[in-house]
Assembly symmetry: C2
Homo-oligomer: 167 residues x 2
DNA sequence: AACAATTAAATAGTGCACAACTTAAATTAA
DNA sequence: TTAATTTAAGTTGTGCACTATTTAATTGTT
């Protein structure tokens, strides 16, 4: 029962290694402290909260900041290609892009070759916001206050898990 | 400029190591691929998506599942103590607990000693749901398909980052 | 050319997360 | 024992994430 053992260690501390059919007389302990997914979820939420005071100064949310980073890197992208880069779909991106447009940071044009696609590009204001955003990663890093190797390892782990969960 | 170097490696690939005042002639490359926070955010979103088909069978969202796990472990908890365990506040939990109550899974009583506190406890249906939930962590683990040590290291990294961002 | 299938984006509706605020009960201090 | 303070939970409003569906443009097939 190899899989059972793994579950015991990673997800359920206090979960006995008896067969599933013998569970009637035991309390299955779903210890939250031992769940990787909960740690990931909590860390991601905490990250969002940590970004907030920094991004408030730019009047951006974290996802808006992410989208702006894509645009600072590529300038013109379709909603589809943007969605592939940030791993989100039009259901999330369309209203977000409308808000960025309302703030005057992006332009939502139509492609001339294909009327279906929206071409998102930066306004002058959107371009100039990049300078203000440059201090953000540094500020976040100071808050993390962890060895670089550890942060890199954490990033790699997240990337690997993401890749596994996507296929 | 140690901090600059770190930022270069972890956040901005292609960011030169020149002083900030010399940036006028370079394109600052905010490469999304190199951002730890984005990896964390994407992995957390992917995790939520991976849980969904499993939790749909239990008619639970991921956060509802998390809250049920706390209750399966402790049975009776106040909103405040629940919030401390799941790192969320009443703004998120109150509506969620009302939905769990509407499904007949929990009971939202008042404390007799202190009328301010809500005591959340499991209904019979809430208790019996635990058996159906037991297969969920195993199913998730199969999807992750990564060495146990790596998943444990990832969990540790998330926990350490969370702790740093919280203080 | 006509029509079916595909594709890109938008829309509608649910449920988080969060900040800011309100309400009401309990505690403390004057 | 009032009055000020603190505390627990709830409320309001914004912005994600996501599923399912719709609209409209393009492509493919006969």
């Amino acid at each position: 029962m190899k899989c059972k053992y793994i579950v015991h260690n990673l997800f359920y501390e206090g979960f006995t290694m008896s067969k599933l059919s013998e569970q009637s007389d035991q309390v299955v302990n779903l210890s939250l402290d031992k769940q990787l997914c909960f740690s990931l979820y909590s860390a991601s939420n905490a990250m969002g909260r940590a970004y907030r005071p920094l991004l408030d100064k730019l009047d951006l949310t974290y996802l808006q900041y992410i989208v702006m980073m894509v645009l600072w890197e590529h300038d013109s992208v379709s909603v589809k290609s943007l969605g592939e880069k940030v791993h989100l779909d039009s259901g999330t991106l369309t209203p977000l892009l409308k808000r960025l447009e309302a703030k005057g940071l992006v332009i939502r044009a139509r492609s001339e070759h294909d009327e279906r696609v929206r071409v998102i590009s930066l306004s002058e204001q959107g371009v100039s916001l990049q300078q203000q955003a440059e201090s953000v990663p540094q500020a976040m890093l100071c808050q993390a206050d962890m060895p670089l190797e550890e942060l890199q390892a954490l990033k790699q782990g997240c990337d690997r898990l993401f890749a596994k969960l996507m296929k």
